[in-house]
C-alpha cells in the first residue's frame, strides 16, 4: 500500500449564517443585489446551499433558482438559474457575473416580470466559516477510508465541495490528495466526477468509499 509523505489532514468545518443588510423583492432588486453583495453571500447562496440542502437530490440547485420558482413563480428563470453547476467555477467573480447576466437577460425580455413583487423577499445572507483540525490524519488509503467514514456532513462538504474555491482548481481536497500525495490520478478523476447535485452528502461519501475500496483491492 502506498504511504504518502504528505498526510491528509481531516478538518471539521462549521458555518455561521450572517444576515446582510440587503434584500430583494423584485428581479430588478435581485440584479442589483447580485452586483453589490459580498462574495461570501454569492458563496452562501450557491456552494453552501448545495451543502445545506444536500438531501434534496431532485430539482434543487441554489437559493436563487428556488426563489425564482417559489417566490416569483417564474419557472423559466428558475430552470436557467438551476442549470448553474458550481463545479464549473473556481472564482466567485465569474459565478456572480453569470448569475447576474441570466437574471438581467430574463428581465430584459420580461419587463413586467422584472417588477413583479415576490411572495416573500429574498434575503442576502453570507457564510462565516470556522475550521478546526480533527485529531486524525491519513497517510494511506486505508487510513483515509477510516477517516472519511467519521466525517460529519459539514466536514465532508468542506473537503468535497467548498474546497474548489479554496484550491482555485476544478477539483476537491480528496482528489487533490489522491493525485498529489498518492499519485492516484485515475482515482482522483473518478472521485471528482461524483455528482453532488444528484447525491446526498451521505451517498456521495458512500460512492467515494466504494471507489477507495475498489482501488485498495487492486
Amino acid at each position: 500500500m502506498i504511504t504518502a509523505e504528505q498526510p491528509f489532514q481531516f478538518v471539521t468545518a462549521a458555518y455561521l449564517t450572517r444576515v446582510e443588510n440587503q434584500k430583494a423583492n423584485t428581479l430588478l432588486n435581485l440584479i442589483e443585489g447580485l452586483e453589490h453583495t459580498s462574495d461570501d453571500a454569492i458563496f452562501f447562496h450557491t456552494f453552501q446551499s448545495l451543502g445545506r440542502y444536500h438531501f434534496l437530490t431532485e430539482g434543487f440547485s441554489n437559493d436563487f433558482a428556488q426563489w425564482a420558482l417559489a417566490g416569483l413563480n417564474q419557472p423559466v428563470l428558475a430552470e436557467r438559474l438551476a442549470s448553474v453547476d458550481v463545479r464549473d467555477y473556481t472564482s466567485l467573480t465569474d459565478l456572480r457575473h453569470d448569475l447576474r447576466q441570466m437574471v438581467a437577460d430574463f428581465s430584459a425580455t420580461n419587463s413586467k416580470a422584472s417588477e413583479q413583487w415576490a411572495f416573500e423577499p429574498f434575503y442576502f445572507l453570507r457564510a462565516v466559516e470556522v475550521t478546526r483540525p480533527l485529531p486524525w490524519e491519513a497517510r494511506t488509503l486505508a487510513g483515509f477510508r477510516a477517516g472519511l467514514e467519521r466525517l460529519s456532513h459539514s466536514s465532508f462538504y468542506y473537503h468535497f465541495i467548498a474546497s474548489r474555491l479554496r484550491l482555485q482548481l476544478r477539483t476537491n481536497d480528496f482528489s487533490n490528495w489522491f493525485a498529489s500525495a498518492l499519485g492516484l490520478e485515475d482515482l482522483a478523476r473518478r472521485a471528482d466526477r461524483i455528482d453532488v447535485y444528484t447525491n446526498t452528502l451521505d451517498t456521495a461519501r458512500q460512492e467515494l468509499i466504494d471507489m477507495v475500496d475498489r482501488e485498495m483491492e487492486r
Partner: protein, 413 residues
Amino acid sequence: MTSVQEVPAETEVYLLDNYLPVVGAAEIDELRALAQPLEGSPVEMVNSTAVGGGVAEILTRLLPLFRQLGVDAHWRVMEGDLPFFEVTKSFHNALHGEHFQPVPKDFEIFREYNRRNLDLVPADARFVVIHDPQPAALIEARRNHRKNHWIWRCHIDLSRPDSAVWSFLQTYINQYDASIFSSPEYARQLPIPQYLFYPSIDPLSEKNRDLEPEYIESVLENFGIDSRRPILTQISRFDRLKDPLGVIKAYKLVKRYHDCQLVLAGGGATDDPEGAQVLAEVRDAAGNDPDLHVIELPVSAPLEVNALQRASTVIIQKSLREGFGLTVAEGLWKKKPVVASAVGGIPLQVIHKHTGLLTHSIEGTAYQIRFLLSHPEIATRLGEQGHEHVRENFLITGNIKRYLTLFLYLFNS
C-alpha cells in the same frame, strides 16, 4: 442582587450521548472538536425569567449539553418586579408592532432595573449571551471587563418595531459584538454583525420522541378520530392569526373529493378571552360534522400533540401571520407532509415542493391537500426530505453547534 439559575442535573434526559442515534456519531464528534478550545471558558446566559416561556425552556435544555462538552456555562436570571415587567411587557408588544406611547418614566424604570443587575455577570466571563430586550442594558457592565464578548440573542420578531422603543433599545444593542436573530425577516439594519440561529426542537422531548403505535391509537380513540381514514391536522392556539376558520373552509373544499377528517387542536382558550371567542366561532363553523374534531388541549399536553401529529396524513399550518412556527418543524420531524402559509419563519422550514407545500390562500391550501391525498408517494417524499431538513437545521444539537461556532469565531478574531 444576583440570581444564578440552577442548571438541570445531567440526568438521563439530558445526556449528549442520547442524541447519538438521532444525529450520528460524526455530529457529536464535531461538537466535541468545536468545544475543545473553549474548554473551561466561562459562558454566561442571561435572561429575565427562570420558568415559563420559550427562552427558559431552551436554556434548560442547552446548559447541560454545553457542560458535557466542557464549556463552563451558567444561566443567570436578572431580578425585577412588577413595575419593570409591566414596562418590558409594553416594550415587547411595541417591538412586535403594537402602538405604544412610551413616557420618560418607562425608559427610566428599564434603565434603573438593569443598573441594579449590573453585577449579575461575573468579570471573568468569556462570552456573555443576553437573551431578549429585558436585560439588554446590562451591556453597560462591559466597561468593567472589556475582554468579554457580548452577544445579544433576540428571540422576537423585530420586523415592524415601534420606533421610539426600538431607538431607545438600539443605543444598547449597538454596543454588543454580535447579535442573533431567528429569521432574516426579524433582523434590523445594525452596525454590528447579525447572525441567523434558527429556533430548534428537541427530538428527545415528549413532544417529539418516538411513540408506541398503541399509544397513538389510544389518543385517537380518546378523541373519537378514525385512524383508517385520512387525518388533516392543524395544531395551534385558537387565535385568529392561525386562521382556524380558513382551515375549516379548506377542509370543506377537500371533503368534496376525499373522505377525510380534520383535527383542530390547541390551547389558549381558557386564559385568553379572545381565544375563547375564537374557539366558539370555530365550534360554530364546525357544526355537526362528525369528521371535524375541535380539541381544546391543556396548556401542556406534549404527548397528545405528538400523537396527533404522528397520526396525521397531512399537517396544516395556515397562519395569517406567524413567528417562527416551530409546529411546522415538529410535523416535518415526524416525516409528515406539510401544507403551510408562506409567512414568518415558515418558508425557512418549508422549501416549496421539496420539504412541503407553501400556499397563499384557502383555495390553494385545499388544492395542495387534495394533491397530497391523491399522490401519497409525493407526500412520503416531502415528509422524508422535511425530516432531513429538520435534522440538518432545526435540532437542538444544531443550536449548540451554532453557539460553539460563534464563540470560536469571536475567540479567534
